[in-house]
Amino acid sequence: MPLQTPPLRGIHDERGAKFTEFGGWDMPVEFDSIQTEHMAVREDAGIFDVSHMGQIHVTGPDATALMQRLTTNDVSRVAVGGSQYAAITDEDGLVIDDTVIYRLPDEDGHNTYLFVPNAGTDEATHERWVDHRNEWDLEATVDNRTDEYAMFAVQGPNAPELVDAACREDVLDLGRFEAMEATVDGVECWTARTGYTGEDGFELIVPADEAERIWSAIDCQPCGLGARDTLRIEAGFVLAGQEFDRESNPRNPFEVGIDFAVDLDTEFVGRDALARVEADGLEEQLVGFQLIDRGVPRHGYDITNTEGRVVGTVSSGTMSPSLEQPIGLGYVPVEYAEPGTTLQVVVRGRSKKARVETTPFVDTV
């Protein structure tokens, strides 16, 4: 299958970006260097093209009911201009995807949402929404608008000022997870104070055919998916396909450590299974760790206890550009999850000493 391309593929290529396949998309992984891009976001500002993220639009009399029953959090609490992080779980309470749900201004008097599933999952997610709407006989329109939008993230301590300067409206009054329509160079953008780096900043969902105008209106370090990954690992944020995968690494939201996105007082697919998990307790959970010995932890490496018995698996790892230390995330039995616990990570057959750390690894907003 040919790769999908973001609207600005050509612009990024001219700028000298290297590309990688991610979730079926051909995305810029690096513009200058991951180190440079990473530090720009931690110390100044950077802009990411995240047009591989999906956009699904839901409206109608039963829009809230449909969203409520397919996501783990309490959507009914989200006001217009608000947003919410949630998981999408199956009947067994296993995470299929995670998403941010934005509540748009009402359309025709009905609650209206735009939610952002991960790269390459938009078609299956759209189908899931349509199938359940039909099954439950709900009145809602579900549109997959992934192709209509580009999406940019502008992140870093100086990002809010940059975005505010580019917008006709004042966007600095928006709190974390708040959003509004704002105009950049005459183009209406859904402008949200959200992100995936641990820094302050905004994400902008923009019409695909106006993407270049928006991209050029915000002048800061362009950043690829490489820096996006190192930044999110330092912030302790999970990534679909790494920390959970319905097929190869099935996990419930409690193991993943996103309890805050689960509201068991709402009715949703997987709710009963998760209520049982909560009552029974967890066997494994995601922890952060730092490697004490030299080496770099990578996805799939074994984690052992100090006797050398395999007890877990690394889900993500990198050399942290901010800390200049090797860090990672991984699943271990709960008895090894206490910060300070000594473990080992097996790097090419050799055991490297590691210590469980609290996440985030760096100060975040």
Binding site: K18, E30, I34, G226, R294, V296, T318, P326
Partner: protein, 127 residues
């Protein structure tokens, strides 16, 4: 994008270079290779005195985004290891042909160098 390809040494298809010096055959990776890898954060090298066979892995280089094996251009004994790379792996990015070198091999058979690519052949390979 153009890459440095010094004329004074030979190259492997796997992007290592080999330079004859008075201490033996010095080995590193090319400018093209360091650019492909991106920020180098870790280098694992053999110990002095170890033996290595031509085309066998002698070490591992890791950038933030990738892990890559390193291959020996000739067989022989390891007589030098660039320990500066343990604390400053970024030397591989900054000076791949100079201070970013990795090992020196006392070659068993210098004619093995003839198996390698000339600068012109290597240039064609990465074009």
């Amino acid at each position: 994008m153009t890459f440095d390809i010094p004329e004074d040494r030979q190259y492997m298809e796997s992007h290592e270079w080999a330079l004859e010096t008075e201490d033996g055959v010095r080995v590193g990776i090319s400018d093209f290779a360091q650019d492909e890898l991106g920020d180098v954060v870790f280098v694992e090298l053999p110990d002095e005195g170890d033996s290595i066979a031509q085309d066998d892995e002698f070490g591992v280089i890791e950038s933030i985004k990738a892990v890559s094996d390193l291959y020996a251009p000739v067989s022989g004994e390891i007589v030098g290891v660039n320990e500066d790379l343990f604390d400053s792996p970024e030397l591989v990015n900054d000076e791949p042909f100079e201070d970013g070198w990795m090992i020196e091999i006392d070659p068993e058979d210098e004619s093995q160098l003839e198996d390698l690519l000339s600068p012109e052949e290597y240039e064609e390979q990465i074009a």
